[in-house]
Subunit: 333 residues, 2 copies
C-alpha cells in the first residue's frame, strides 16, 4: 500500500522542520519566513502531491468540519431533497456531511446520534421521530451544537427550523372551501409528532369540527388510507374533497382513488402535501402545499453555524408553506 505523503516527508526532503513546513503551507507567520525556503517547501509539497491528513488535523484542532445529518428516510424525496441542499450548502462552508436514516425509530436515532458524536461531528441536523424526548435530552447534555429540522418539541427549547404547519393546513383547506367544497376529508398520520398534529389542528380549527378525519398508522399506510377513503365515501354526507397531509399519504390515496374510478376533480377535489413528480403525472395534476426546502436547509445550517460559534444562541425559525394550485382541486371551466 502506498503511504500518504506527510509533513515529515516534505520536511526531510527540503531539510527543515515539520513546523516550518506547516507554517508555510498554512500561510502563517508569513512575514517571518524566508521567501526562498517558503517557495521550495511549496514546490516540494506540490511535487509530492501533498494533501494534509484531515484526521490528524481534526485531532489537533478539535474540529472535524463534518456535520451529522439524521433524516427519517433518505429514500423519501422530502428527505433526499433536504439532504441534497444541506450537503451542497455545507460544502460551501467547507463542511462534509455524514448521514443516516432513522426509519422513524427512536432507538436508531439514538444510535446514530452516538455514532456521530463518537466521530466528533462539529454539529448535527436532526429530524426526530416520535418518542425521542430521551434522545433529545441526551443530545442537549452532550453539548454538541445541533438543530432540529422539520420536527421539534414545542416544550423543549432547542434550535429548530420548521414550517408553520398549522397555517399550511389552513391554506390548503381554505383553498378547497374557496372552490366550493363543503365536505372535506382529512387524511393524516396517527402520531405523536407535534408538527403533523399541527396539520390536523389547523384543518379542524378552520372547519370548526365539521371535518371527517381518517387516521393512518405509519406502518400500515396503504391499508389505513383505503379504510379512511372508504369511510369518507360511505358517510351519509360523503366528502367532496380530500386533503392529504403528506406526500406518501397522497400517493397511496390517489392510487386507490384511481382504482375506484373516481373522477378528479369533478367528484373529488384533492390537495396534497410536499412536492413529488408523481403529482404531475396524475391525469389531473395534484395541487399541494409546497415546503420551502432550500430555506429549510439553509436556515438550519445558518442556525447550526451560529451555534457552533456561540454555544449560547438558541433560535426557532418557522417558515411558511405555499399552496401550489394545479387542476386536482379547482372547478373545471
Amino acid at each position: 500500500m502506498k503511504k500518504n505523503v506527510s509533513l515529515k516527508d516534505i520536511a526531510e526532503q527540503v531539510g527543515v522542520s515539520t513546523a516550518l513546513v506547516s507554517y508555510v503551507l498554512n500561510n502563517k507567520l508569513k512575514d517571518r519566513i524566508n521567501k526562498d525556503v517558503a517557495a521550495k517547501i511549496k514546490q516540494v509539497a506540490e511535487d509530492l502531491n501533498y494533501r494534509p491528513n484531515q484526521i490528524a488535523r481534526s485531532l489537533k484542532v478539535q474540529k472535524t468540519f463534518t456535520l451529522g445529518l439524521i433524516v427519517a428516510d433518505i429514500s423519501n424525496p422530502f428527505s433526499s431533497q433536504i439532504a441534497r441542499i444541506i450537503e451542497d450548502e455545507a460544502k460551501n462552508y467547507g463542511y462534509s456531511v455524514i448521514f443516516g436514516s432513522s426509519d422513524e425509530s427512536a432507538k436508531k436515532t439514538g444510535d446514530l446520534i452516538k455514532l456521530f458524536l463518537d466521530r466528533q461531528v462539529d454539529g448535527l441536523i436532526v429530524s426526530l421521530p416520535e418518542h425521542t424526548e430521551e434522545q433529545l435530552r441526551y443530545l442537549k447534555k452532550s453539548d454538541v451544537p445541533f438543530v432540529l429540522i422539520d420536527r421539534y418539541y414545542p416544550t423543549i427549547p432547542t434550535n429548530s427550523v420548521s414550517i408553520n404547519n398549522y397555517a399550511a393546513s389552513q391554506k390548503a383547506v381554505q383553498h378547497l372551501l374557496d372552490n366550493g367544497r363543503k365536505r372535506i376529508g382529512i387524511v393524516a398520520y396517527k402520531t405523536a409528532l407535534f408538527h403533523l398534529n399541527e396539520r390536523i389542528r389547523g384543518a379542524v380549527d378552520l372547519l370548526a369540527g365539521n371535518a371527517s378525519i381518517g387516521m393512518v398508522g405509519i406502518h400500515s399506510i396503504n391499508q389505513d388510507v383505503i379504510a379512511a377513503i372508504n369511510s369518507f365515501l360511505a358517510d351519509p354526507q360523503p366528502v367532496d374533497s380530500i386533503f392529504f397531509t403528506s406526500n406518501l399519504l397522497a400517493i397511496s390515496g390517489l392510487k386507490y382513488i384511481n382504482s375506484l374510478g373516481i373522477k378528479i376533480p369533478d367528484q373529488l377535489a384533492i390537495v396534497g402535501f410536499d412536492e413529488t413528480d408523481a403529482f404531475d403525472l396524475f391525469y389531473a395534476p395534484v395541487s399541494f402545499m409546497k415546503q420551502p426546502l432550500v430555506e429549510l436547509g439553509c436556515e438550519s445550517l445558518k442556525l447550526l453555524f451560529n451555534s457552533i460559534e456561540n454555544r449560547e444562541s438558541i433560535a426557532s425559525i418557522e417558515l411558511e408553506a405555499e399552496l401550489v394550485v394545479k387542476s386536482s382541486s379547482i372547478i373545471k371551466k
Copy 2:
C-alpha cells in the same frame, strides 16, 4: 464547553495508566488483567459515560471506518435509494458513509474524491459522470479501494457493479414486439456514458436498424424529449410505442404525452426505466425495467470490503434488470 471523557480521565480516577484502561476496554490481554481492577475500570468508564474518540483512534490505527459515496444526485430517487441501501448495509459492517452529489460534473467528482481521500475514507463507491477518465486514473493511483457502481469504463479495469444494460434494453423492446408493436421509438441520452449507450445498442441491435431514436441532452431534457416525441409522431410511419431509457426521460415524456391527449396504451405503448412512484400514479401505470437496487448496493459493498482486505482483488459484477409489466404496454382486453 463540556470536555469529552478520555482514557486519561478514567485512568486518573481509577489510579492506573491509560494503557491498562485501553486494554481493559478493548478486551485485550484479557487473561493477564486483575479482575477487580478490570471491573473497576469498566465501572468508572460507565459512570463517566466514556465514549472513545474515533478520530484519535482512526489516526492511530490508520482506519476510519468511513466510506465515501459519490452519486450523480442524491435527490434523484435512483441515487437516494442506492444511498439508503449502502448506508444501511455499511452500518451493519460498522462503517459510516459520507456522501456527495457530482451533478454529472467531472470537476465536482474530482473535488469530492479529493475531499474524501483527505478525510482518509477506507473506501469509495462512485457513480462516475462522463469524461472522468482522469479522475478515475487519479483514484487508481491513490491506491484507495473503490468500486464503481452503475457506470464504468469497459476499457479501464476496476471493481465495478452494474446491470446488463444491453440485455435490459432488449427485454424492454422484445416485450413491446411481443405485444404487437411494430414501430418503436427510443428516447435516450446523448452521452458518452457507456452504460447508457449500451441501452441504445441493445434496442438498436434487436430492431436491426428499424428504430427511431430521439437523443436528449442531459441539460435540456424537457425540450429535447418534446422534440423527440414530435419527430416520432411526425414520421410518415409514426411510432406505436416508446421506450424511455431512464426515469427522468419517462417522466418528462409522459407529461408531454399527457398534454397531447394521446391515449396510453391504445395509441402508444410505453416502457420506462427504473422505478418511481410517479409511474404508478399515471392513469395507465407504466411498465418499466426494474434495477436490482439492493443487490447493486450490497454487491458493491462486498467487492469494496474484499478490496479493503485484499488490495489485489478486482472484479466486475453484472446484474440483470427485470421487466415489470403494468398496463402502459399491453394490449387491452
